[in-house]
């Protein structure tokens, strides 16, 4: 088992390097000059342009730029934005918001998703099942921004159950509505996965045996099937947490939450390499670690799986 973990951790290294290189290249390939972008419409004298290019290594050839950036990154220096702000503190600010949003969405989709999925799985083929299936299909079909705007209008503006936008009420109040909207997509998948998995497992031989032996239905479900059914669900939840942490440009825009998604989008428009690469690299690491943890968990939950 430990050899497997170590091997996976080692595999993270080439992915980390590959990702930083890829993203850095992509931002580099974007046309335009970020320094000129900041000047806006105002004249930028040649001498000032050169001074700023030098300050941010923008005159160096690509390999040198990347090398300097990587060197700094490995010592924990995430660099500066083109207005002199520390990228690290910018990331920390933005990620606090995104983490709260992602956490809310994740908890919501886990609890409600599994709950609905169990309910539907137990009633497979009957009305309750069809209702849940219909609801989840609807949630997947309607685009996120439509759900977001509708929810904001209905529950925020008209009914005033939640604040319409912004973070001023802190966690959890400000993050409830956006979290629910963000989590509704994942909720649909979690519910469906749970439902299918549970329904399959309820037909398995060992369940028939247990029932034949006289075990009560509740006990059968809780002791045997639930744990097995949750395996694919946990896999999905683990991966989805990584996705949620990447922030949601759309939800953050609708609810005015200054998170990572919006930051990456703006920085791409302004060609701010250090910000984009910094955020993305961090994200990839989180994603890979989440995957690793899920796989290890998988090994504990399903004794048929063996890592060597």
């Amino acid at each position: 088992m430990w050899r497997y973990v170590v091997r996976r951790l080692i595999q993270i290294v080439p992915v980390f390097l590959g990702t930083t290189l890829l993203i850095y290249t992509l931002v580099f390939a974007l046309p335009g000059d970020p320094v000129k972008a900041l000047a806006g419409d105002k004249p930028l004298p040649a001498s000032v342009l050169h001074a700023l290019h030098e300050r941010y290594n923008l005159d160096d050839p690509f390999v040198v730029q990347y090398g300097k950036y990587l060197g700094n990154l490995l010592t924990g220096n995430f660099g500066e934005t083109y207005t002199g702000q520390s990228v690290a503190s910018l990331m920390a600010d933005r990620w606090t918001v995104t983490a709260q949003l992602a956490g809310t969405a994740w908890i919501f989709e886990m609890i409600v998703g599994i709950g609905l999925g169990v309910y539907a799985g137990l009633r497979h083929g009957r009305l309750g099942d069809t209702a849940v299936l219909g609801l989840t299909t609807l949630l997947i079909s309607v685009p996120t921004f439509v759900v977001g705007y509708t929810a904001q209008l209905l529950f925020g503006l008209k009914l005033e159950w939640f604040p319409t936008a912004g973070t001023q009420d802190g966690w959890p109040v400000s993050y409830l509505l956006p979290g629910i909207v963000l989590g509704s997509f994942g909720l649909a998948y979690v519910a469906r996965l749970t439902r299918t998995s549970l329904a399959e497992n309820l037909r398995a031989d060992y369940v028939r045996t247990a029932t034949a032996k006289g075990m009560s239905r509740v006990r059968v479900i809780v002791r045997h099937t639930l744990r097995n059914s949750l395996i694919p669900v946990i896999t999905y939840l683990g991966v989805d947490l990584g996705n949620l942490m990447a922030g949601s440009i759309v939800i953050e825009g609708i609810f005015n939450l200054p998170g990572i998604g919006q930051q990456v989008f703006q920085s791409i428009q302004l060609k701010e390499g250090p910000v984009v690469v910094g955020i993305t690299t961090f994200l990839v690491l989180i994603y890979l670690l989440a995957n690793l943890i899920v796989d290890i968990l998988y090994g504990f939950l399903d004794p048929r799986i063996r890592y060597d």
């Binding site: 974007l30 046309p31 335009g32 000059d33 970020p34 000129k36 972008a37 900041l38 000047a39 806006g40 419409d41 105002k42 004249p43 930028l44 004298p45 040649a46 001498s47 000032v48 050169h50 001074a51 700023l52 290019h53 300050r55 005159d59 207005t83 002199g84 702000q85 503190s89 910018l90 600010d93 604040p163 319409t164 936008a165 912004g166 001023q168 005015n256 200054p258 919006q262 791409i268 428009q269 302004l270 060609k271």
Partner: protein
């Protein structure tokens, strides 16, 4: 939870209620202070920035030599005692005696000269560097060649005479000079502002009615409080102001409407009808200094055709677009300079900027038609740009039968593309005013090396008229020349005017005596708080 617990709970509840009651509207409540919503500035050091949000904060911290009354456009002295010249080229500037920075250091002629030299020195990389380009000796500090080192660190055109006097020699006569001195970037700097730039940027020290209250809290807020050393003519009414930083104007408006902040000067067009309802007469729409134009690439053969450009201009329904895209909040223009500029005339463009599809069609025929597809260039910086470009495309298709498509360019690349003449079709151009003079618009957009590729005898005439206006004996005397220059530029229609932005602002009922300014937003020192 026993009796003890319950009592504790009750105490907590009472305290909480009391705090909530005292808290009032939650937006910067106690002690005669208020908050203003802005978007995060890029720098606070005056000459390091040209962003209007930075200038809003700078307006509270620094007193430049002059100030411009936003209503009358009169230029009056602020920290200057007098600014005189016989030939518009050699200026003598005398300061008011006894002025001090907020840290007690006296404001002297050297404070100004040192600050201006620092800003003009190329390698410092300060954004407002170009404002100093007309001072003698500028070229020595700003070599064109990237490998050359500047020959000097100080401008030869600046000379300190004594503690309160310094001389400025410009490279050419410039009648608008005293007006430009009202811009924040000409502010004086204390000795601290000349060395550790980063530290100073986070905690600038100025000579204005307010001073920093703690460091700049990035992406959160900037707090300022009354400057006890201030002896100038515009002391602050409120004791303290908080500039709250928002990620977007929409977010700022949401907070304003919720009472979480007291004032906003940049309400988005889509929220204007809501703002009018919510704020009533605490909503104000004032003419702004930003103008949208549509430029033509004259170096592209198809557009090197005056009748075609006229036809396009007449096929655009400016009023219709302003109504549908901007809820009628902007002002369609028939002139190249906006209303707030002295010397503004309502409609020098005449019929060629009026919507007239029939006449447009005729002109197009006379021009020989338009072959191929038209590419419309703009940067996707704001969703409304796409909206009106689409309206223009639809109008040109309907009225002139022209097929158009978009060329959207990321913000980081747009102006670069325009300057290197990469555009092959009409493009969006806008200009935000530095100071209220026609010269600011005309010289920057139609001057040498303009983006439209406008050259030739007419442009030479234009340039000489601008020069004459600059050489006039006073700023006002220059106006007729600028008007003639505007006429020349309009006649060739290398770039046509579209509309003038109006600044939409609103404030909470705690505030009164709110004065708007097209460059900075609010005059925060004038605002009174009634709690």
């Amino acid at each position: 939870m026993g009796v003890r617990g319950a009592r504790f709970g009750a105490v907590v509840a009472v305290v909480a209620l009391a705090a909530a009651a005292c808290g009032g509207s939650g937006g910067g409540s106690k002690g005669n202070s208020f908050s203003v919503a802005i978007t995060e500035p890029d720098h606070l050091t005056p000459a390091q920035t040209t962003s209007s949000y930075s200038l809003q904060v700078g307006e509270s911290l620094f007193d430049p030599l002059t100030e411009i009354d936003p209503k009358t456009k009169q230029v009056s002295n602020l920290s200057a005692q007098s600014i005189t010249s016989d030939d518009q080229k050699h200026w003598t500037i005398k300061l008011k005696p006894g002025l001090k920075f907020s840290n007690g250091e006296p404001v002297t002629a050297k404070s100004f000269v040192d600050a201006w030299n620092t800003a003009a020195y190329g390698p410092n990389g300060w954004a407002a560097n170009y404002y100093f380009a007309n001072i003698d000796g500028y070229d020595a500090l700003n070599p064109e060649d990237e490998n050359a080192k500047p020959k000097a660190k100080t401008l030869s055109g600046l000379k300190v005479k004594d503690d309160t006097t310094f001389d400025v020699t410009l490279s050419e006569p410039y009648s608008q000079f005293p007006m430009t001195l009202a811009v924040n970037c000409f502010s004086p700097l204390p000795k601290e502002g000349l060395s550790d730039f980063k530290k100073f940027d986070n905690h600038p020290i100025g000579n204005g009615p307010y001073m920093m209250d703690g460091d700049w809290q990035h992406n959160k807020q900037i707090k300022v409080k009354k400057n006890p050393n201030y002896k100038g003519p515009r002391p602050g009414n409120a004791n303290a102001v908080t500039f709250k930083s928002y990620a977007s104007r929409d977010a700022a408006y949401t907070d304003l409407a919720a009472g979480q902040t007291d004032a906003l000067a940049t309400i988005p067009a889509a929220k204007v009808s809501d703002a009018k309802k919510v704020f009533g007469d605490r909503f104000r729409s004032v003419p702004g200094g930003t103008v949208d134009y549509l430029g033509f690439p004259l170096f592209e053969k198809r557009y090197d055709n005056l009748k075609l450009r006229q036809a396009i201009s007449m096929a655009i329904d400016r009023k219709g677009i302003v109504n549908s895209v901007y809820n009628g909040t902007y002002k369609p223009m028939g002139s190249l300079v906006p209303q707030i500029v002295p010397g503004y005339r309502a409609d020098p463009c005449g019929q060629y900027c009026q919507y007239n599809p029939a006449a447009a069609k005729k002109l197009l025929q006379e021009a020989g038609g338009f072959k191929g597809t038209m590419n419309l260039w703009f940067s996707n910086a704001d969703p409304t740009y796409k909206e009106w470009m689409q309206a223009i495309a639809n109008l040109l298709n309907k009225n002139l039968g022209i097929k158009a498509q978009f060329r959207q360019v990321p913000a980081a690349d747009y102006l670069d593309s325009l300057s290197s003449h990469k555009e092959d079709g009409p493009y969006r151009q806008n200009w935000i005013m530095d100071y209220p003079s026609a010269e600011n618009y005309l010289a920057n957009q139609w001057g040498t090396d303009n983006r439209m590729g406008w050259t030739g005898p007419n442009q030479d005439k234009f340039l000489s008229l601008i020069k004459k206006g600059n050489a006039a004996s006073t700023a006002t005397a220059g106006i007729p020349y600028y008007q003639q220059a505007e006429d020349v530029a309009l006649k060739d229609m290398a770039m046509i005017p579209l509309w003038n932005w109006q600044d939409q602002s609103a404030w909470s009922d705690r505030l009164s005596n709110v004065i708007n300014d097209p460059i900075v937003g609010f005059h925060v020192e004038s605002i009174k708080v009634s709690d």
